[in-house]
């Protein structure tokens, strides 16, 4: 019983981490129609900013709060300078964002000297329930993920900003005719997606420590999650991330981890073959 509880918690916590990472990726893919291959590196930048704050003696919380704003601002600038030129050609956008990611990744690798660096948790240690120990920080991540998910949902479905964003996605020319500045909306959406990646990086760096390949590690899982969940809505990729994250963490409890690693992708491919539109099809929130 205790064992099952620990297992459930651990699986849930890894699922939450994947959801957190995929949120920004999903919003950019669904709302803008481009796959941002630099998303992993935005996660890395969030982690790096948190590390820099810690290394300079600032409280870790400060770094974690600054990370989404700084990465979001960078996303806004990059959208205006580079990404904007790719909207007409989504395939080229993949290559372009991949190149962007490569530049960020290798720059960070240079800055941290190729090392693996630890960043302590703001809330460390474990929560003890009887003989069971669960990680206090992983628990915090689950809570924050739920809050961020709810916040994003409300932002997109209940605010006028969210309405404009969805209008821009569904019919750009009609949105422009109605007085919505679509370039500004694209910039804001990209910045928002980047900020979520920065937040994810800041929150996961105490769990996985900082290293240059931190972001790229999640890129493939993230894309599989978006494909499984379905492009076009906010809920789709989030649902996909929940499924992929939970599966990746759950399967090693049942079989050899090397097999589990492959099986997640086999299952995902089979699912996409049977249901190409993904778990949740169609546009909307």
């Amino acid at each position: 019983m205790a064992n099952a509880f620990v297992a459930a918690f651990e699986i849930l916590s890894f699922g939450a981490i994947i959801v957190l990472i995929v949120l920004g990726l999903g919003i950019i893919a669904s709302m803008m129609g481009i796959f941002n291959f630099a998303q992993g590196e935005f996660v890395l930048l969030g982690a790096y900013i948190t590390y820099v704050a810690y290394a300079n003696g600032l409280p870790i919380w400060a770094g974690m709060i600054a990370a989404p704003f700084l990465v979001g601002a960078l996303g806004f600038v990059l959208e205006a300078l580079i990404i904007r030129r790719f909207y007409a050609a989504p395939i080229v956008a993949m290559l372009g964002t991949y190149a962007l990611g490569l530049i960020i990744r290798e720059s960070v690798r240079g800055l941290i000297g190729g090392f693996y660096l630890t960043v302590p948790e703001p809330i460390g240690g474990s929560i003890d329930i009887g003989t069971m120990h669960i990680s206090a920080w992983r628990f915090t991540i689950i809570v924050i993920t739920l809050l961020v998910m709810a916040g994003c949902y409300l932002l997109l479905s209940r605010t006028s900003f969210g309405l404009r964003m969805r209008a821009t996605l569904e019919n750009p020319s009609l949105a422009r005719a109605s007085g919505i500045s679509t370039p500004l909306m694209y910039g804001a959406t990209f910045a928002f997606g980047s900020a979520l990646a920065g937040l994810a990086g800041a929150l996961i760096v105490p769990v996985f420590s900082l290293y240059a390949d931190l972001g790229i590690r999640f890129l493939i899982q993230g894309f599989v999650a978006v494909m499984v969940g379905g492009v076009g809505s906010f809920i789709g990729p989030v649902a996909g991330a929940g499924v992929i994250g939970t599966l990746s963490a759950a399967l090693p409890w049942l079989m050899a981890p090397v097999v589990a690693d492959v099986l997640v992708f086999v299952l995902a491919i089979a699912f996409i073959k049977l249901r190409p539109q993904g778990l949740i099809a169609g546009k909307g929130v």
Binding site: N3, V6, A7, E10, I11, S13, F14, R109, G113, G114, F115, Y116, L117, T118, P120, G124, G125, S126, H133, I134, S135, R138, V207, F208, S209, Y211, A212, D213, L214, R217, S248, A249, P252, W253, A256, P257, V258, D261
Partner: protein
């Protein structure tokens, strides 16, 4: 105008002299001999190591050690009256790039010896271009899984026997009998575990758990759960970064250390201490040929450590796990062999290197085991305490590599 041209030329020549290293293509560096000998050309030493890529911190440390040793040999008059010239190529953590760059060392630069390669896959990729097609001597400096018995290939890092024979009995005494072997899924852990299991069972311990993970796995909840529920005493870890950090953290959070568990990891050195918070790996035991803490008791270690830190302050540490000590040992053994042989052709140097000895090296003396092309050395068991190592056990004399 004339003045300016002259001064610019002088500036350029000064600059080229001062910088010492001259780039001769992407990823290639030459440190020219400090003096020219009319009769004979310099002896050429080739270093092929990972200056870029994920393990660049190790490769750069190795290149630094080579620069330090070559400088020291040149300062004391060179070898056989000839100066040494250092050729450094980047293997870039990429085997196909590496083979091309190693060919440059062999065919373009015509080096007399190549030292380098850190991972086993890199050694396997570059040994043929060096030893077979290149007909050149090759020294491999990293700790590894053993079983490399290619002629003209000499290994100067620790083998499984050296890392397990003394270490595992110590772990059983200071940890317990129940071992778990969580491992990354590649050749080093697979081969090391076969040997470790034999030593564990020969000493009355048991392996309750041996499992392999994809190299990029970073969530170990099911592993940690199995370790806790099997009441494992010693986790003999061969999971590598990036997985090892989260793995140790999850073990800590699950109360493994609190319940008296012992972490053991034979590649852990000063570089890897920073992957986790100090309290998460308190008591972690490692067994290597050198730890920086030895500088407190061993004057020779203090001397080379200080010389290294003076020349190369910064992040690239002189540490055993990144092959820096094996590089030092390899170059000094080769120096001894060249002196004995009195010439530099491959046959003569290999014959002398076969039984070469050095009285002083990182962690103590070292000697090649005749006919085995592996190196006897002293081994130390150290335990992490508050973010530093403490030596808790050491080998009586030189430990046999038991290879080939």
């Amino acid at each position: 105008m004339l003045d300016r041209q002259l001064s610019r030329r002088r500036f350029l020549s000064n600059f080229a002299f001062a910088s010492g290293a001259v780039a001769t293509g992407v990823g290639s560096w030459v440190i020219p001999a400090p003096w020219a000998n009319a009769a004979e050309a310099p002896i050429k030493v080739g270093i092929a190591t990972d200056l870029t890529g994920p393990i660049a911190y190790a490769g750069n440390a190795d290149a630094n050690v080579a620069k330090m040793v070559i400088k020291e040999i040149n300062a004391s008059g060179g070898l056989l009256g000839r100066p040494l010239e250092l050729y450094i190529e980047d293997t870039a953590s990429n085997e196909s790039v590496a083979v091309g760059n190693v060919r440059k060392l062999i065919q373009r630069d015509k080096v007399d010896m190549v030292l380098g390669g850190i991972t086993s896959s890199m050694r396997n990729a570059i040994k043929d271009p060096i030893v077979a097609r290149g007909k050149t001597l090759y020294i491999y400096p990293q700790l590894y899984e053993g079983k490399e018995c290619t002629p003209y290939l000499f290994c100067t890092g620790p083998t499984p026997a050296q890392q397990c024979d003394e270490f595992i009995p110590w772990l059983i005494k200071n940890g317990g009998k129940k071992f778990a072997l969580p491992s990354a899924n590649y050749v080093w852990p697979h081969t090391l575990n076969v040997y470790a299991r034999k030593v564990i069972e020969a000493n009355g311990g048991e392996v309750v758990f041996e499992e392999y993970y994809p190299l990029d796995q970073i969530d170990f909840s099911s592993t940690v759960n199995r370790i806790i529920s099997n009441k494992v005493d010693v986790v003999f870890n061969t999971v590598i970064p990036p997985g090892v950090g989260p793995f140790f953290k999850q073990l800590y959070e699950a109360g493994f250390l609190k319940n008296g568990g012992r972490l053991a990891c034979v590649y852990y050195d000063e570089n890897t201490l920073n992957i986790n918070q100090a309290n998460e790996i308190e008591g972690l035991a490692s067994c290597l040929d050198y730890f920086k803490v030895l500088t407190k008791e061993n004057p020779f270690d203090a001397k080379i450590q200080a010389a290294y830190e003076k020349d190369f302050p910064g992040n690239f540490l002189f540490a055993a796990g990144s092959a820096a000590t094996g590089t030092y040992r390899g170059l000094k053994l080769w120096e001894a062999a060249v002196k004995e042989a009195g010439k530099i052709d491959r046959e003569s140097v290999a014959a002398a290197l076969d039984h070469a000895k050095i009285a002083e090296g990182p962690g103590g003396p070292a000697e090649m085991v005749p006919g085995k092309r592996h190196c006897k050395m002293k081994m130390y068991t150290a335990v992490a305490k508050g973010g530093n190592y403490e030596i808790v056990a050491r080998s009586e004399g030189l430990v046999d590599p038991k290879e080939c």
